[in-house]
Amino acid sequence: MLTAFSSAPFYDSQVSLPRISDPIPPEIRDNPKRYPFFKDTLGAIDGTHINCSPLEQEHQAARNQKGLLTQNCLMVCSFDLRFLYILSGWEGSAADSLVFHNAHFTSFPIPRGKYYLADAGFPLCDQLLVPYRGVRYHLAEWGRANIWQVFNN
Protein backbone atom coordinates (compact mmCIF):
# COMPACT_ATOMS: atom_id res chain seq x y z
CA MET A 1 0.00 0.00 0.00
CA LEU A 2 2.74 2.38 0.98
CA THR A 3 4.69 1.57 -2.16
CA ALA A 4 1.59 2.05 -4.25
CA PHE A 5 1.02 5.53 -2.84
CA SER A 6 4.65 6.62 -3.00
CA SER A 7 5.50 5.50 -6.52
CA ALA A 8 4.16 5.70 -10.05
CA PRO A 9 1.48 5.86 -11.31
CA PHE A 10 -0.46 7.19 -8.30
CA TYR A 11 2.32 9.39 -6.94
CA ASP A 12 3.21 10.87 -10.31
CA SER A 13 -0.38 11.65 -11.09
CA GLN A 14 -0.88 13.50 -7.81
CA VAL A 15 2.44 15.19 -7.21
CA SER A 16 3.80 16.96 -10.25
CA LEU A 17 5.87 20.06 -10.81
CA PRO A 18 4.28 23.08 -12.47
CA ARG A 19 4.86 23.35 -16.19
CA ILE A 20 6.48 26.34 -17.84
CA SER A 21 3.32 26.93 -19.83
CA ASP A 22 1.05 27.06 -16.77
CA PRO A 23 -0.73 30.40 -16.29
CA ILE A 24 0.00 32.64 -13.31
CA PRO A 25 -1.90 31.19 -10.34
CA PRO A 26 -5.02 33.20 -9.41
CA GLU A 27 -3.74 33.61 -5.83
CA ILE A 28 -0.98 35.82 -7.26
CA ARG A 29 -2.77 37.32 -10.23
CA ASP A 30 -5.83 38.53 -8.32
CA ASN A 31 -3.97 40.06 -5.38
CA PRO A 32 -2.66 43.58 -6.10
CA LYS A 33 -0.17 43.25 -3.26
CA ARG A 34 1.46 40.28 -5.00
CA TYR A 35 0.95 41.01 -8.66
CA PRO A 36 2.95 41.86 -10.73
CA PHE A 37 5.86 41.59 -8.28
CA PHE A 38 5.69 37.82 -7.83
CA LYS A 39 4.48 36.84 -11.28
CA ASP A 40 7.44 34.48 -11.79
CA THR A 41 6.90 32.69 -8.51
CA LEU A 42 5.95 29.04 -8.74
CA GLY A 43 5.33 28.19 -5.10
CA ALA A 44 6.94 27.98 -1.71
CA ILE A 45 9.66 25.69 -0.47
CA ASP A 46 10.59 24.66 3.03
CA GLY A 47 11.95 21.78 5.04
CA THR A 48 10.05 20.12 7.83
CA HIS A 49 11.26 17.69 10.44
CA ILE A 50 9.29 14.48 10.76
CA ASN A 51 9.87 12.24 13.75
CA CYS A 52 11.47 8.93 12.93
CA SER A 53 12.94 5.95 14.73
CA PRO A 54 16.25 5.04 13.09
CA LEU A 55 18.65 2.26 14.00
CA GLU A 56 20.89 2.78 16.99
CA GLN A 57 23.99 3.54 14.90
CA GLU A 58 22.12 6.22 12.91
CA HIS A 59 20.87 8.13 15.92
CA GLN A 60 23.66 10.68 15.79
CA ALA A 61 22.97 11.64 12.19
CA ALA A 62 19.23 11.82 12.69
CA ARG A 63 19.32 14.17 15.66
CA ASN A 64 18.19 17.64 14.67
CA GLN A 65 18.99 20.98 16.27
CA LYS A 66 16.25 20.48 18.85
CA GLY A 67 17.63 17.12 19.94
CA LEU A 68 14.83 15.04 18.43
CA LEU A 69 15.30 12.11 16.10
CA THR A 70 13.87 13.23 12.79
CA GLN A 71 14.17 13.05 9.06
CA ASN A 72 14.35 16.34 7.21
CA CYS A 73 11.82 16.44 4.38
CA LEU A 74 12.06 19.10 1.71
CA MET A 75 8.61 19.97 0.47
CA VAL A 76 7.44 22.35 -2.19
CA CYS A 77 3.87 23.51 -2.35
CA SER A 78 1.84 25.66 -4.69
CA PHE A 79 -0.36 28.59 -3.74
CA ASP A 80 -3.46 26.43 -3.68
CA LEU A 81 -1.83 24.27 -0.97
CA ARG A 82 -0.98 21.25 -3.05
CA PHE A 83 2.35 19.50 -2.91
CA LEU A 84 4.54 19.84 -5.98
CA TYR A 85 7.65 18.02 -4.84
CA ILE A 86 8.79 16.02 -1.83
CA LEU A 87 12.25 14.80 -0.94
CA SER A 88 12.17 12.78 2.24
CA GLY A 89 14.63 10.62 4.05
CA TRP A 90 17.41 13.11 4.78
CA GLU A 91 18.79 12.88 8.29
CA GLY A 92 17.54 15.44 10.78
CA SER A 93 21.01 16.92 11.08
CA ALA A 94 21.02 18.00 7.41
CA ALA A 95 20.40 21.70 6.82
CA ASP A 96 17.61 22.89 4.53
CA SER A 97 20.08 24.39 2.09
CA LEU A 98 21.96 21.10 1.76
CA VAL A 99 18.79 19.15 1.08
CA PHE A 100 17.72 21.71 -1.53
CA HIS A 101 21.11 21.56 -3.13
CA ASN A 102 20.88 17.80 -3.46
CA ALA A 103 17.30 17.92 -4.76
CA HIS A 104 18.06 20.55 -7.39
CA PHE A 105 20.94 18.50 -8.73
CA THR A 106 19.04 15.24 -8.95
CA SER A 107 15.30 15.45 -9.33
CA PHE A 108 13.93 18.94 -8.80
CA PRO A 109 14.16 20.99 -12.01
CA ILE A 110 13.25 24.68 -11.94
CA PRO A 111 12.52 26.61 -15.16
CA ARG A 112 14.88 29.41 -16.12
CA GLY A 113 13.57 32.77 -14.97
CA LYS A 114 11.18 31.25 -12.45
CA TYR A 115 11.74 30.88 -8.74
CA TYR A 116 10.29 29.62 -5.48
CA LEU A 117 9.83 31.52 -2.25
CA ALA A 118 11.98 30.22 0.56
CA ASP A 119 12.85 31.21 4.09
CA ALA A 120 16.16 32.46 5.41
CA GLY A 121 17.54 28.94 5.80
CA PHE A 122 17.97 28.66 2.05
CA PRO A 123 20.63 30.22 -0.15
CA LEU A 124 19.80 33.20 -2.35
CA CYS A 125 20.26 32.00 -5.91
CA ASP A 126 18.58 32.21 -9.29
CA GLN A 127 15.85 29.79 -8.32
CA LEU A 128 15.09 30.88 -4.77
CA LEU A 129 13.79 34.18 -3.47
CA VAL A 130 14.55 34.55 0.22
CA PRO A 131 13.66 37.38 2.61
CA TYR A 132 16.13 40.10 3.52
CA ARG A 133 18.18 39.15 6.53
CA GLY A 134 18.44 41.36 9.55
CA VAL A 135 15.12 43.12 9.11
CA ARG A 136 13.41 43.22 12.45
CA TYR A 137 9.75 42.65 12.98
CA HIS A 138 9.20 44.38 16.26
CA LEU A 139 5.65 45.55 16.58
CA ALA A 140 6.63 49.05 17.63
CA GLU A 141 8.67 49.49 14.47
CA TRP A 142 5.85 48.62 12.14
CA GLY A 143 4.54 52.13 12.00
CA ARG A 144 7.75 53.22 10.31
CA ALA A 145 7.81 50.91 7.35
CA ASN A 146 10.92 50.63 5.27
CA ILE A 147 11.55 49.16 1.88
CA TRP A 148 12.80 45.82 3.17
CA GLN A 149 9.86 45.36 5.48
CA VAL A 150 7.40 45.95 2.68
CA PHE A 151 9.19 43.28 0.69
CA ASN A 152 9.48 40.71 3.47
CA ASN A 153 5.89 41.18 4.42
Binding site: S6, Q14, N51, C52, P109, L128, I147
Partner: protein, 113 residues
Amino acid sequence: MIERIFGVLKRRFHILVCPPEYSMEIQARIPAALCALHNFICHSDPTEIDDDPDATDLASNCANGAEVGDLATQAINAAKCVRMSVKRDQIAQDMWDSYILWVQRGGADFEAI
Protein backbone atom coordinates in the same frame (compact mmCIF):
# COMPACT_ATOMS: atom_id res chain seq x y z
CA MET B 1 1.64 29.44 3.94
CA ILE B 2 3.89 26.40 3.65
CA GLU B 3 4.08 26.14 7.43
CA ARG B 4 0.32 25.88 7.40
CA ILE B 5 0.28 22.96 5.01
CA PHE B 6 2.79 21.14 7.21
CA GLY B 7 0.38 21.61 10.10
CA VAL B 8 -2.51 20.30 8.05
CA LEU B 9 -0.52 17.24 7.02
CA LYS B 10 0.72 16.41 10.50
CA ARG B 11 -2.71 16.73 12.01
CA ARG B 12 -4.37 14.72 9.30
CA PHE B 13 -1.83 11.90 9.41
CA HIS B 14 -0.78 11.17 12.96
CA ILE B 15 1.86 8.68 11.81
CA LEU B 16 4.07 11.70 11.03
CA VAL B 17 4.12 12.67 14.71
CA CYS B 18 4.52 9.20 16.28
CA PRO B 19 6.93 7.24 14.12
CA PRO B 20 6.49 3.49 13.69
CA GLU B 21 9.38 1.06 14.08
CA TYR B 22 9.81 0.29 10.40
CA SER B 23 13.12 0.35 8.61
CA MET B 24 14.35 3.78 7.50
CA GLU B 25 13.69 2.93 3.85
CA ILE B 26 10.02 2.53 4.65
CA GLN B 27 9.91 5.53 6.97
CA ALA B 28 11.43 7.70 4.26
CA ARG B 29 8.62 6.78 1.90
CA ILE B 30 5.83 7.66 4.32
CA PRO B 31 5.86 11.47 3.89
CA ALA B 32 5.92 11.19 0.11
CA ALA B 33 3.01 8.77 0.11
CA LEU B 34 0.98 10.96 2.46
CA CYS B 35 1.65 14.09 0.44
CA ALA B 36 0.39 12.31 -2.66
CA LEU B 37 -2.63 11.20 -0.70
CA HIS B 38 -3.19 14.76 0.52
CA ASN B 39 -3.15 16.03 -3.05
CA PHE B 40 -5.51 13.27 -4.05
CA ILE B 41 -7.94 14.20 -1.28
CA CYS B 42 -7.80 17.88 -2.30
CA HIS B 43 -8.28 16.88 -5.89
CA SER B 44 -11.16 14.53 -5.23
CA ASP B 45 -13.06 16.56 -2.70
CA PRO B 46 -16.63 15.24 -2.79
CA THR B 47 -18.02 18.70 -3.40
CA GLU B 48 -16.01 19.09 -6.57
CA ILE B 49 -15.97 15.60 -7.93
CA ASP B 50 -18.78 16.08 -10.43
CA ASP B 51 -17.55 19.10 -12.30
CA ASP B 52 -13.82 18.54 -12.02
CA PRO B 53 -12.44 18.95 -15.54
CA ASP B 54 -9.11 17.32 -14.65
CA ALA B 55 -10.60 14.15 -13.26
CA THR B 56 -10.05 12.19 -16.45
CA ASP B 57 -6.74 13.80 -17.15
CA LEU B 58 -4.77 12.26 -14.30
CA ALA B 59 -2.64 9.90 -16.35
CA SER B 60 -1.43 12.65 -18.67
CA ASN B 61 -0.81 15.01 -15.79
CA CYS B 62 2.71 13.71 -15.35
CA ALA B 63 4.88 16.31 -17.03
CA ASN B 64 8.09 15.32 -18.73
CA GLY B 65 11.44 16.94 -18.08
CA ALA B 66 11.40 19.55 -20.82
CA GLU B 67 8.16 21.09 -19.59
CA VAL B 68 9.09 21.63 -15.99
CA GLY B 69 12.54 23.20 -16.21
CA ASP B 70 16.22 22.42 -15.78
CA LEU B 71 18.19 20.66 -13.10
CA ALA B 72 21.21 22.33 -11.59
CA THR B 73 24.43 21.71 -13.46
CA GLN B 74 26.76 23.56 -11.16
CA ALA B 75 26.93 24.65 -7.58
CA ILE B 76 25.52 27.93 -6.36
CA ASN B 77 28.19 30.57 -6.87
CA ALA B 78 28.62 34.24 -6.17
CA ALA B 79 27.38 35.28 -9.62
CA LYS B 80 24.06 33.52 -9.13
CA CYS B 81 23.72 35.07 -5.73
CA VAL B 82 24.37 38.56 -7.05
CA ARG B 83 21.97 38.06 -9.95
CA MET B 84 19.10 37.07 -7.70
CA SER B 85 20.02 39.77 -5.23
CA VAL B 86 19.62 42.39 -7.97
CA LYS B 87 16.29 40.86 -8.92
CA ARG B 88 15.14 40.89 -5.32
CA ASP B 89 16.16 44.52 -4.96
CA GLN B 90 14.19 45.32 -8.09
CA ILE B 91 11.07 43.57 -6.79
CA ALA B 92 11.44 45.29 -3.42
CA GLN B 93 11.84 48.66 -5.15
CA ASP B 94 8.75 48.08 -7.29
CA MET B 95 6.74 47.05 -4.26
CA TRP B 96 7.99 50.06 -2.33
CA ASP B 97 7.02 52.44 -5.15
CA SER B 98 3.59 50.88 -5.29
CA TYR B 99 3.26 51.13 -1.51
CA ILE B 100 4.23 54.81 -1.51
CA LEU B 101 1.72 55.49 -4.26
CA TRP B 102 -0.92 53.70 -2.25
CA VAL B 103 -0.17 55.69 0.91
CA GLN B 104 -0.25 58.94 -1.06
CA ARG B 105 -3.68 58.03 -2.32
CA GLY B 106 -4.84 57.84 1.28
CA GLY B 107 -4.33 54.15 2.00
CA ALA B 108 -3.77 53.04 5.56
CA ASP B 109 -0.24 52.88 6.93
CA PHE B 110 1.95 49.79 6.95
CA GLU B 111 0.37 48.40 10.12
CA ALA B 112 -2.87 47.78 8.32
CA ILE B 113 -1.36 45.75 5.49
